[in-house]
Every structure is written in structure tokens, then in C-alpha cells.
């Protein structure tokens, strides 16, 4: 009974960890929950020593479509006090691509030194009236 409760908590925690780890792909990685439901190998030092368990428990490694996920749960008097990721699919090429697909950028990174040599301007749609004061108009008038 105690073991089953822990298993459920562990399975749910895998999803939470994944969600926190990669907000953008959270709904993809959270499939870890669906595939788990496994046992809790009692590697913790306090497992089974008292009615209200304490210690660290390693979850089963769960295969997700982006690679293996494994978490470790720390329990104190029957309450989960910490969840840590032991294994996340960050070495998988696909996952790495997803996690870095959208990244913060600096203006200096994207505005190159050659920016004077541009032929056209993209911006939110201007009206016919606003065109006169637009950068595109200035560019068109130099030709």
C-alpha cells in the first residue's frame, strides 16, 4: 500500500520535473508519466524502516519519445521534500534541437555590421499614408 502511493507520487513527479526543465516542450516530455507506473526500486537508505518512510528513492527509467527520463525523490516522514532529475534526454540530438530551437538573442547578434547594405525592409504592415515616412520609402527613393 505504501509502495503504491509512492509509485504514483513518483510517476507524477517525473512529469513535474520535465515540465520545469523545458517549459516549451513540456507537453511533449510529460508523456513520461503515461509510460511509467513502474516500481520504486528501494535504493533509499530509509525505505521500509518505519511506517512513515524517509529517504531517497530512484524512479524507474522511463523511455519517452525524446529519450530516457529518471528522477530521484527525497521523502521525509512520508512527504516528498525534493525531486531531482537523474537522467533527462538532453544528450539526444532531437531533444537538444528542440530545447535550443528558440533562444534569447541580443540585438548586437542579429544586426550585422553589413546592415547598411540592405535592399528591403520588413515590418508590420504600413498604410499607404504611413509609407511616406517609412524606412522602405527612404530606401526606394535612393534608387
Amino acid at each position: 500500500m505504501r509502495l503504491r502511493t509512492l509509485t504514483l507520487a513518483l510517476a507524477a513527479s517525473a512529469g513535474i520535473v520535465a515540465a520545469g526543465w523545458q517549459a516549451g516542450a513540456a507537453h511533449e516530455v510529460a508523456v513520461a508519466r503515461a509510460g511509467s507506473g513502474g516500481t520504486v526500486p528501494a535504493s533509499g537508505d530509509g525505505a521500509g524502516s518505519s511506517a512513515a518512510p524517509s529517504g531517497s528513492y530512484q524512479g524507474q527509467t522511463v523511455q519517452t519519445r525524446y529519450g530516457p527520463v529518471q528522477v530521484q525523490v527525497t521523502v521525509s516522514d512520508g512527504k516528498i521534500t525534493d525531486v531531482a532529475a537523474l537522467q533527462l534526454p538532453q544528450n539526444d540530438g532531437h531533444s537538444a534541437r528542440i530545447s535550443s530551437a528558440v533562444e534569447p538573442m541580443l540585438r548586437s547578434e542579429v544586426l550585422s555590421a553589413q546592415s547598411a547594405d540592405i535592399q528591403t525592409i520588413s515590418g508590420a504592415t504600413y498604410t499607404s499614408e504611413a509609407y511616406a515616412s517609412s524606412l522602405q520609402s527612404a530606401l526606394d527613393n535612393t534608387r
Partner: protein, 256 residues
Amino acid sequence: MTGPAATERRDRATRVFDSMGTVVSLTAGAADGILDEAAAAVEGTFAGYDRRFSLYRPDSELSRIAARELSLAAAGPKVREMYALAMHWQLEANGVFTPVRTDGVLDLSGVVKAAAIRDAGEVLLGLGLTDWCLNAGGDVLTHGGPGPGAAWRAGIVDPADRGALLADVTLGPGRQALATSGSSERGAHIWSPAGAEPLAQVSVLAADIVTADVLATAVLAGGVPLLEEAVRRWPVQVLAVRPDGSLLGTPGWKRP
């Protein structure tokens, strides 16, 4: 011997005309000789779309549909084609993009300008013009380059200062089209899901202008979640500006 930039600039020429409430600029090699003919053909393509789809023209097919004088089923093939295109993108963009205004009026402006640019590009290629840059109200479609071995380069307007650029980008094969949407032009054809982190401006580089334009609009409305999804599902590069002015982008934006 002057620098290559100066030489290129002298060799290019631009034609500008008004359509769809904005301004269209066509730039091509001045030596091509058919630039005036090409500009007239492009203008004709845009005028054809404007006649059918403008809700500012009481006699357009779309105005007559809005007035319930004409049913969608009885409308011309071009109108039905644009409706199908808009519905396709409504499904693709998880409903963020919709061709129906909140007052129930069918408004296809979310796809019509991009379709006009797309068709105009086909017209230019049909005339044998292979090096050109077409800009319609800030949405860009290119082919070839501004000179031998050169690639078209576009600047992206800074939404906080429309007289300044925040980025520049090289266009080329697989990334010939560039569209930018800003919160200043949020129209009836987009709908923002609750809770999505808003974006101030979104630029999308794609192989075709319809994908670039629709995704720029949809990501602007759908925020960061749709940005992540768009990058996963389509071969596009995105540069987004957050309300605080910080930038989010795909690595390929910088590297062609």
C-alpha cells in the same frame, strides 16, 4: 573603380504603386529592360485580388458575401480558393488564425495579401525575370539576388522605433520569403488565447510568403507556445520581439 555596393545600387531600379491600402515596391536589375512591364503585371495581380476581396469596395465579392447578397458557394473560384486556404491555416494554427471576424463577417485579408505576393512572384518568373525583390507593406518575397553572386538582404524594423532596424537577414533558397507582424496591426483575423505571453513583433523567414505571413500573424497572437510549435512543425526561422524589447529567435535566423 567604385565599390561593388555603389555599382549594384546604380544597376537596380524600383517601381512603386499603391494597392490594398498599402504600398508595393518592386526592385530588379535596371538593365532588365522589362521592369516597367513587370511592375504593370504585378500591379494587375494585386488589383485583381483587391477587386474581389476588399471589404472597402461595396461591389467586391467579399462585400457582397458580407451583405448576404452572395453565398460563398456561389462565389467565384478565386474566393473559394482563398476561403479554403484560410480554413487550412485556421486548422494548422490551432484556431489562432481565423477568417471570420467577431461580428461574423468573412474577412480573408489574412491570406489575400500573401496570395497576391505569391501570384505576383509567379508572374515575374513567367516574364523571365529571375532577380527581383517584391515588398508589399513590409512583407517580402525575393528571387535570385541584387547582383551576380549576391543575396538579397532585408532589415527588420524596430517596433519601438520604426525609424531604426533591430536586425538584418539574408534571404535565399529555402528562405526567400519574409513577413513581419506587429501588435500595432492586430486585426480581426487573429485571436489571442488567454494566458499566452504576448509578443510585440514577429518576423518569419520561410520558403513561401503565405507560410511566412500566416505564421507571423499566428505566432504574434499565439505567443511563445505557438512560436515553439511553429518552429517544430515548419521549416521556418523566427525572430520575435517581446514587449520589453528583448528578442527570441531561432539559431538559423543568423546563419543562412
